[in-house]
């Protein structure tokens, strides 16, 4: 730091500038907080290590043994599940995104100021409903209620490939599952979008209004361009949630291990998470390894989606009007 004559040391001590006893509080506290940060890294390393360790047998055992003692050859078993996971989540996104953006706009720019916060809480309450309850609701209320819609869609819109085929008699289809998932990811997408909409610079909005724009034109000129990156990342985070959602899917969807694009029939693909939840309690031996390996696949998929979201935000951040 600074260069000083040795003589200064004693004089500084006598002036009370040098602490009489070492100040250990700072060191202990910094050590503790740094240690906690490192603990998180260790935990995550453990998560990865243990999952890989237990998943390993599923990847290395020869297919014949797997067919006899497990669920069959690993990749041909897990890929349809991965397809089902992504398929149901995309369906949920298609349904949830327009609604979520609409609600977020309603709360941030249309609802009266005094009501806005309360309305926001109302939507957040959806996030307070545990997934198992959504599952029960889906199977007891939503699925039966949607059976007529299944019939109607296959009858009148059956020319559209996704809606073709024999309609399911129970309503426990990918279609219903996607609706339940959409409801579940609605609050997170809404609240993230609402936040970015509210952050849109007031000056730009007022400038747009001062140019004679209607409210909708103002939103299109000043709010949406500003919020684009935020919306995309909100959607990706919602997608991440939908991919990992377990119980609601496990309860509502009656799925098999297959790839099928028709969303209204009785033959539906299953998802990784739901399959683990339903099969795990009865699983043993290699089957447990296979289920854990499928969990690892799910983790990798969600990780990729989340990384993509952050990358988009980071890349767009410099172009958004934030600065």
């Amino acid at each position: 730091m600074s260069s000083t004559a040795p003589a200064a040391e004693s004089s500084a001590a006598s002036a009370g500038l040098v602490p009489t006893k070492p100040r250990i509080g700072d060191r202990v506290f910094q050590g503790l907080s740094t240690g906690s940060g490192i603990a998180i890294l260790v935990i995550l390393a453990l998560v990865a290590a243990f999952l890989v360790l237990r998943a390993f047998p599923a990847l290395t055992t020869d297919p014949a043994t797997l067919a006899a003692q497990g669920y069959g050859e690993f990749w041909s078993w897990v890929l349809p599940l991965a397809f089902g996971t992504v398929w149901a989540a995309i369906g949920a996104l298609v349904l949830a995104v327009p609604v979520a953006i609409g609600i977020a706009l309603f709360i941030s720019h249309y609802a009266p100021r005094r009501l806005a916060q309360g309305l926001g809480y109302t939507i957040d309450l959806l996030a307070a409903v545990p997934s198992v309850v959504f599952g029960l609701w889906g199977i007891f209320v939503l699925a039966p209620a949607l059976i007529p819609l299944h019939v109607w869609l296959t009858t009148y819109v059956g020319w559209f490939p996704l809606f073709s085929g024999q309609p399911s008699g129970t309503g426990r289809t990918i279609f219903t599952t996607s609706i339940v998932l959409a409801v579940m990811i609605l609050p997170i997408i809404t609240s993230l979008c609402r936040e970015v909409f509210l952050q849109a610079p007031n000056l730009h909005e007022e400038a747009a209004l001062a140019l004679g724009a209607t409210r909708w034109e103002m939103i299109r000129m000043a709010v949406l361009p500003f919020a684009r990156a935020g919306i995309v990342s909100a959607i990706m985070l919602g997608l991440g949630r939908a991919l990992g959602e377990t119980m609601a899917v496990a309860l509502v969807l009656s799925g098999q291990n297959r790839v099928d694009f028709q969303v209204l029939t009785a033959e539906n693909p299953n998802t990784i998470a739901a399959n683990i939840a339903l099969s795990f309690p009865e699983a043993y031996g290699l089957r447990i390894n296979q289920l854990i390996a499928s969990g690892l696949v799910l983790f990798v998929i969600t990780l990729a989606v989340n990384m993509l979201a952050r990358w988009i935000v980071a890349r767009r951040a410099q172009y958004s009007g934030a600065n």
Partner: protein, 360 residues
């Protein structure tokens, strides 16, 4: 005539005020709405493909189209598009209320029957049909989430302090990155991790309360870190400087000035994180297991929790099924109530006890 005082759209004189434009009176909206509903009901009833849902959907579509056309004619295209956007946005909001109302109503109407003292005082031990309760599950949930909180809060808080007050360089960056990664761990994967960890370390079949708590901690820690770090960062630097200038060491500045200033938000964040893990089912099914009896020892034996109780009662009912399904709904209702109460408490604390900065 003067622009400022001109009555708008007086019926007699043709208006030559350049500032006025065609405007729809508000009763038109209501009238079109009612008409759309009536027409939709009539059409779908005649076509005999009725159903209330279809009628409402038809009415909404009809309303949007008709209003747009009327508005186009009277108000011009720009105002019409504006109006259409407003109506669509409001529709979206109402649409989202449907599931909320439906879920709450279903849970309430099905669950209220068994919301009795017996439900909270009896376990399912030796219960075959009606009766019994979820006392074991309630206790399990309290114990497991309690332990998860005890694990997560110190680690989460201290990590947030590290990130906000000390962290810089590669270590801080990588911790931030991996907290992000952790936020994205699907809950079932957290359960698999706890299962893999405990069965490998303590021998096969080790499924107990602690394992469940560890699984939940993996989900809770990143939430606590995130919210706390954000709050610590918005504590004004001026307060830290004021404290340093009084000769207060850094750790004491953090403990006595920075954290107290943010404490209401931190507590609220922890409560919201707690509310989030309380409803988790999948990881507990795998790591903490099922049981019909009371087990208050987290270190030994499987432990029931409320969400798992709900799932188990639905998915593996005895005969007759109805008492089991009733209990499932009452469990759901209890869960919803607990989680909503926690949410409200969190928000209340955040608002009520926030320190006033006093700056105008």
């Amino acid at each position: 005539m003067s622009t400022a005082t001109a009555p708008r759209q007086s019926a007699q004189a043709p208006v030559d005020n350049p500032l006025t434009a065609g405007q729809l009176p508000s009763w038109v909206t209501i009238a079109v709405g009612v008409a759309a509903l009536a027409v939709s009901a009539l059409v779908f009833t005649l076509l005999d493909t009725g159903g209330i849902a279809l009628i409402v959907v038809g009415a909404v579509v009809l309303f949007l189209v008709v209003m747009h056309i009327i508005s186009l004619a009277v108000e011009g295209s720009r105002r019409a598009v504006d109006r259409l956007a407003k109506h669509v946005v409001v529709t979206m909001f109402l649409l989202a209320l449907l599931p909320l109302i439906s879920v709450t109503w279903t849970a309430l109407s099905h669950g209220i029957n068994r919301l009795d003292p017996e439900f909270f005082t009896y376990s399912m031990r030796n219960v075959v049909g009606a009766g019994g309760g979820a006392a074991h599950a309630v206790w399990g949930t309290l114990i497991i989430t309690g332990i998860a909180t005890l694990i997560s809060v110190p680690i989460g808080l201290l990590t947030a302090v590290y990130l906000a007050e000390y962290g810089r360089g590669a270590l801080a960056r990588s911790i931030t990155f991996f907290v992000d990664v952790m936020t994205g761990i699907p809950s079932i994967v957290a359960g698999l991790f706890a299962y893999a960890l405990f069965t490998l370390v303590f021998g096969p079949g080790t499924i107990n309360g602690i394992a469940g708590a560890v699984a939940l901690s993996v989900l809770m820690i990143p939430v606590v870190v995130r919210s706390t770090e954000e709050l610590l960062r918005i504590v004004p630097n001026e307060l830290r400087e004021a404290s340093y200038a009084l000769g207060v060491p850094k750790w004491k500045t953090i403990m006595r000035i920075v954290i107290p200033t943010a404490v209401s938000g931190i507590v609220a964040g922890v409560i919201l994180a707690l509310a989030r893990i309380m409803g988790e089912t999948a990881p507990l099914m795998i790591a903490a297991g099922f049981t019909q009896s009371m087990n208050t020892n987290p270190f030994s034996g499987q432990m029931m929790t409320l969400p798992v109780f709900v799932f188990d009662s639905y998915a593996r009912p005895g005969i007759p099924r109805e008492p089991f399904w009733d209990r499932a709904w009452t469990g759901s209702l209890t869960l919803i109530l607990i989680v909503m109460l926690l949410n409200l408490a969190g928000r209340f604390i955040a608002k009520r006890f926030a320190p006033k900065t006093g700056r105008k």
